[in-house]
């Protein structure tokens, strides 16, 4: 089973490199978020809320980079559905579960590889993690990339209309991105969202960002175990739901 999953995943990973130009554009955008947006915004933020905006935002960009790259697989799955490549995929000598898991793992690989360069950047800009913190960072990256890859794949199969697919993905993308702590700290989230603040603080992107901030030494008082468990629950729920949706839509006609 594991080898079939890896074969499917490696196919998706190979295809990822064919988008090297798209990737270059994404890298420029994410680096620009740190060295331009972060640097300039650092001169405008309230220092009592965020003493150093670059150190604050860099772990957030780690989440964002992983999220964008894992999410990229959804577009291809959507195109496959429109062009009926799914019939070819279903005819492969692998079980449907292996196919689905292989796609999720393929998306996750993309995220992990893309994020690795930004991990080095975070080490340089924020701080050097301890060996234990590296384990937490690795756990966070693996789970978040799997969850986002699954979510993106499932969303792309909801409709065959290409524009609608892109729009649904974008709406979910922005919802997750805006309702997270990537760009703003917990105090501001509490002030702005009031009773809804816990929903923002415990969204998958926020949990991952909090764990990265702890891992790179920006935050000290973090309940790491609870956050890790919660991220695990999110990932399991999202993967089960995504598998059900993807499997159902793979065989649906019209």
């Amino acid at each position: 089973m594991a080898s079939s999953i890896l074969v499917i995943a490696s196919r998706d990973l190979k295809r990822f490199w064919s988008y090297k130009f798209w990737l270059a554009g994404q890298v420029v955008m994410n680096v620009a978020d740190i060295v331009i947006f972060g640097l300039l915004f650092n001169n405008m933020v309230n220092r009592s809320l965020i003493p150093d905006y670059i150190k604050f935002v860099t772990p957030g960009i780690l989440s964002l980079a992983l999220f964008i790259s894992s999410f990229s697989i959804g577009r291809e799955v959507g195109v496959e559905l429109r062009r009926e490549v799914t019939d070819y995929l279903l005819s492969l000598p692998v079980s449907r579960l292996e196919l689905v898991l292989g796609r999720f793992v393929g998306g996750a690989f993309r995220g992990l590889i893309y994020q690795s360069g930004f991990l080095v950047l975070a080490m340089l800009l924020v701080g050097q993690p301890s060996p234990a913190a590296w384990l937490v960072i690795a756990y966070t990256s693996i789970l978040l990339s799997l969850a986002m890859s699954g979510l993106s794949i499932a969303l792309s199969t909801v409709t065959r209309d290409f524009n609608l697919q892109a729009t649904i993905r974008s709406v979910v993308y922005y919802m997750l991105f805006f309702f997270s702590n990537i760009f703003y700290p917990t105090q501001v989230v509490s002030m702005r969202f009031g009773p809804l603040a816990p929903f923002v603080a415990y969204s998958p992107l926020s949990i991952a960002t909090t764990l990265y901030r702890w891992g790179f030494g920006y935050l000290r008082d973090v309940d790491v175990v609870s956050n890790m468990l919660l991220l695990g629950v999110w990932t399991i729920v999202l993967l089960i739901l995504s598998s059900v949706i993807y499997l159902r839509n793979l065989t649906r006609r019209g």
Partner: protein, 266 residues
């Protein structure tokens, strides 16, 4: 001579219509794009504004509203470049070149059609921003709409020029990605000019950036008290926007008329 001119005008209108018809089929897309723009302004904008402490009497949210609208009209206009790349991929450009229409008319029609489409696409978002800003002088609204349209025509012309010059999906992807990432961030969309001036290379880049010109021009019109946070005098900004529209429309026309041949898309 007169008959030729009428024929040319009719051709131009048909080409513009072709771009507008595509917008007609995107009603749901426009509705959803409007929804998430409103979400961006109401959630991200209000939250990030709570972080900013810059100067006495400076309301970052108002500043941000006109900036974020500028980034929207820029993104929607530059997206025409991707559409042209798709058309090349699908052979539609070859079909257009084979039409009994003068190439200059074809190029101008695409620039005008693309910019009118982009302008109409963003109109609901502009109305929403105006409701939030509540302009003191309503006469500035038509002035701002003219500036927004001219800016859009310039960006569409730039997108068409780039795509038809490089004739490659990969090169289009990287160029558009890099231009998009840098133009928005190296402008006064999110930060006032004095903040940019703390890093001189960023400041000079922002000064020659058309995105800066439109966002600052809109601020001068609707938030006149924020003129101290803008980069250039409004006359210079407007001149830049007009120059952008005329310059890139001409360049797109030149590329289509003199350089473009069918095939060769990579």
């Amino acid at each position: 001579m007169r008959r030729v001119s009428v024929r040319g005008l009719l051709d131009l209108i048909h080409i513009i219509e072709w771009d507008l018809m595509k917008l007609k089929h995107q009603t749901l897309f426009v509705a959803m794009r409007t929804t998430w723009f409103i979400l961006q302004v109401l959630v991200f904008g209000t939250t990030i504004s709570m972080l900013v402490r810059y100067a006495q009497g400076f309301n970052y949210y108002d500043f941000y509203l006109l900036g974020v609208f500028t980034s929207l009209i820029y993104s929607v206009s530059i997206a025409r470049g991707y559409e042209v790349a798709d058309e090349f991929d699908e052979g539609i450009i070859e079909y257009h070149l084979a039409l009994p229409v003068k190439r200059s008319t074809l190029a101008l029609g695409r620039v005008l059609g693309g910019s009118i489409s982009s302008f109409l696409f963003t109109l609901p978002m502009f109305i929403f921003i105006m409701i939030l800003i509540q302009p003191g002088n309503w006469l500035w609204i038509p002035v701002s709409l003219v500036a927004i349209y001219l800016f859009s025509a310039g960006v569409v012309g730039m997108a068409i020029t780039i795509v038809l010059s490089v004739k490659s999906t990969d090169a289009t992807d990287i160029l558009m990605g890099v231009i998009d990432a840098l133009l928005i961030r190296l402008s006064t969309v999110f930060y006032p000019a004095p903040i940019l001036a703390k890093i001189m290379p960023y400041y000079y880049s922002a000064l020659i950036n058309p995105v800066t010109s439109l966002s600052d021009f809109l601020r001068v019109l609707f938030l006149p008290e924020y003129v101290v946070y803008t980069s250039l005098p409004p006359q210079a900004q407007l001149a830049y926007i007009v120059g952008l529209a005329v310059g890139f429309s001409y360049l797109a026309t030149y590329i289509v008329s003199r350089k473009l041949e069918a095939g060769g898309w990579r």
